[in-house]
């Protein structure tokens, strides 16, 4: 269980994470989604105490990470890919981490096997490919048999087989009752594994929801319509809860808040001929783009609003 309360991180005058509140629960895979620079890595670094919050708190299983007697047993983290000395072998790297907690050599062998690194475990980690480096990072995350597993962009650099392996690993860990927190900037990847989603943009939580709810929430009911007189059609469709967007020089309108059937009926009623009437199912990727684009707009609007 990870709980962030009003968590904020400022670097100089740039706010990376802005009063974030969220809870990551055990027994499920929680996706942490946002575009590059949204504050995902910074948030994860604060969870394991690498960065100190400017204000607010974040706890793991009810306590600050550094207050635990066996931190590696609480949280296993994969942060930025290369957190290793290139001169040590995978085995030596894992063994050095294991020593800090008195973790046995057999556990080190176990995680090497789990991550499929047996054949390269004695080679210098500096010569590892991106994918093997990721596997080594995941092996260190699993080393302490942690209650919470936190992985920052784990599929980066992995081949399709590796991606599938990660997916199974994550769902397996969650099925064992562990808290699994995974960041990504790829919505499609998250949709396959995450039970729950926390979407972050510009340091703020934009959505804390399930995959299905997110799609529904972000324009799941958009209808594309094109007709003879877009200006008149616009007036005909207007009403409370209805949003119509048009483009100059185009006869197409994008309508939310009205079902396709209702649009067709109203157009017929007013004698407007329609060329196109498409109910658009929003893909997750689009839902995500929509959500994060809104964040940018919201920020721009709010800053002009406060200046006025």
């Amino acid at each position: 269980m990870i709980e962030a309360r009003q968590l904020r991180k400022r670097y100089g005058d740039k706010t990376a994470v802005d009063a974030v509140d969220f809870t990551v629960r055990p027994g499920a895979v929680t996706g942490f989604l946002g575009p590059n620079g949204a504050g995902k890595s910074t948030t994860m670094r604060m969870i394991v105490g690498l960065d100190a919050p400017t204000s607010g708190t974040v706890t793991v299983n009810g306590r600050r990470y550094d207050r635990h007697a066996a931190p590696l047993h609480e949280v296993g983290a994969l942060l930025e890919a290369r957190s290793i000395h290139p001169g040590r072998s995978a085995f030596q790297h894992l063994m050095a981490l294991a020593h800090t907690h008195g973790i046995s050599r057999s556990r080190v062998d176990d995680v090497i096997e789990m991550t499929g690194l047996q054949s390269v475990a004695r080679k210098r980690a500096g010569a590892f490919s991106l994918g093997m480096g990721q596997r080594l990072g995941i092996a260190s995350a699993l080393l302490g048999d942690p209650q919470t597993v936190m992985l920052d962009e784990p599929v980066n650099g992995l081949d399709p087989e590796g991606v599938l392996w990660i997916r199974n690993l994550l769902t397996g860990l969650a099925a064992e009752g562990r808290t699994v927190f995974v960041s990504s900037h790829l919505m499609s990847e998250m949709a396959l594994v995450a039970d729950h989603l926390i979407v972050i943009g510009r340091g703020r939580v934009l959505a804390d929801t399930t995959v299905q709810d997110l799609v529904r929430q972000v324009g799941g009911d958009t209808v594309l319509v094109a007709g003879t007189d877009p200006a008149r059609l616009r007036n005909v469709l207007a009403g409370p809860g209805v949003n119509v967007v048009g483009w100059p020089g185009s006869q197409q309108l994008s309508v939310t808040g009205l079902p396709a059937r209702e649009i067709g009926l109203r157009a017929a009623e007013h004698g407007i001929a329609l060329f196109e009437l498409t109910a658009k199912t929003v893909s997750l990727e689009e839902a995500f783009m929509e959500l994060t684009r809104d964040a940018v707009e919201y920020h721009a609007a709010s800053s002009t609003g406060s200046a006025a």
């Binding site: 105490g49 690498l50 066996a70 931190p71 001169g87 790297h93 020593h99 907690h101 176990d110 048999d145």
Partner: protein, 279 residues
């Protein structure tokens, strides 16, 4: 069926038991880290080799000069078996100090520090462990090298007018002093590496402090020059293994105290930065 279901649980319980972060375990981890890098082996061997080789060369040079009967430079005329044997100490100091810097700065330049501090989020135990483990190692290498260099030099110079034996007053103290000096330089290297988080910066600071600052003292007015110079890390350090003490030098004990103070200051700065700034 039941076997399959029980086995992973057993293993989980096994790894959880006694799994706890302790200062001794952090030291064990740092020990393992040191020996798993080739640079450690190379640099420690180099430090040892420099102590033995330069001590031997200095002793041979002295005997050849006395045998040729030519008039000696004043520097050589004042030499003793001990000063000749310890001729390599300043060079070993560079090697051991640089490795100390690398031990700490390497964590930052490679990104390993993130793994290290995620495993030891209380942070300070990492610095203490590095300083203790590496300082101890540099002390042992320095002491072994100093004793070996003295035994070689005293063998070569046994027939000369400056022959000295290990049982002579102050020799053992002086040889241990050289080891202590090198150990403290190692700790200072760790501290500077951790403080500056950069290999180039740490090495520059170390070499600058021990080799360049003494040279700058000639810019000071003569009346205070000696009073300041002897408290410098380099001069206080040399006082620990000097035999006999030169004019204007601190006593061995005072030198030890002063160099320890400087080292503690650097270590304190490193601890402050480690605690206060993001990794």
């Amino acid at each position: 069926m039941s076997i399959v279901a029980e086995k992973p649980q057993e293993r989980t319980r096994h790894t959880q038991q006694g799994t706890k972060l302790t200062a001794i375990r952090v030291a064990h981890s740092e020990w393992a880290k040191l020996w798993s890098l080739r640079s450690t082996w190379i640099t420690l061997s180099l430090g040892l080799l420099v102590l033995l080789a330069f001590g031997t060369i200095a002793a041979l040079q002295y005997t050849s000069m006395t045998e040729s009967g030519a008039e000696m430079d004043p520097e050589w005329a004042e030499a003793s078996t001990l000063t000749l044997a310890l001729f390599g100490v300043p060079f070993a100091m560079i090697a051991l100090g640089v490795l100390g810097v690398l031990t700490a700065s390497g964590e930052y330049t490679t990104g390993l520090i993130r793994s290290t501090l995620a495993a030891v989020p209380t942070r300070l135990p990492v610095l203490w462990a590095k300083a203790a483990v590496y300082g101890g190692l540099a002390f042992v290498v320095g002491t072994v090298g100093a004793f070996a260099a003295f035994l070689i030099a005293s063998g070569l110079l046994s027939d000369s007018s400056i022959a000295m034996s290990i049982s002579d007053t102050g020799v053992v103290r002086s040889l241990f002093g050289a080891g202590v000096y090198l150990g403290l330089v190692g700790v200072a290297g760790v501290a500077l590496g951790a403080l500056l988080r950069s290999t180039a910066g740490g090495i520059s600071a170390l070499v600058g402090t021990f080799m360049l600052v003494p040279g700058l003292m000639s810019l000071l007015p003569e009346s205070w020059r000696d009073d300041i110079t002897r408290y410098l890390p380099s001069n206080a350090g040399e006082a620990i293994f000097a035999l006999p003490q030169a004019d204007g030098m601190l006593s061995a004990g005072a030198g030890l105290l002063v160099l320890t103070g400087w080292t503690a200051l650097a270590l304190g700065g490193a601890a402050y930065r480690l605690r206060r700034s993001d990794a």
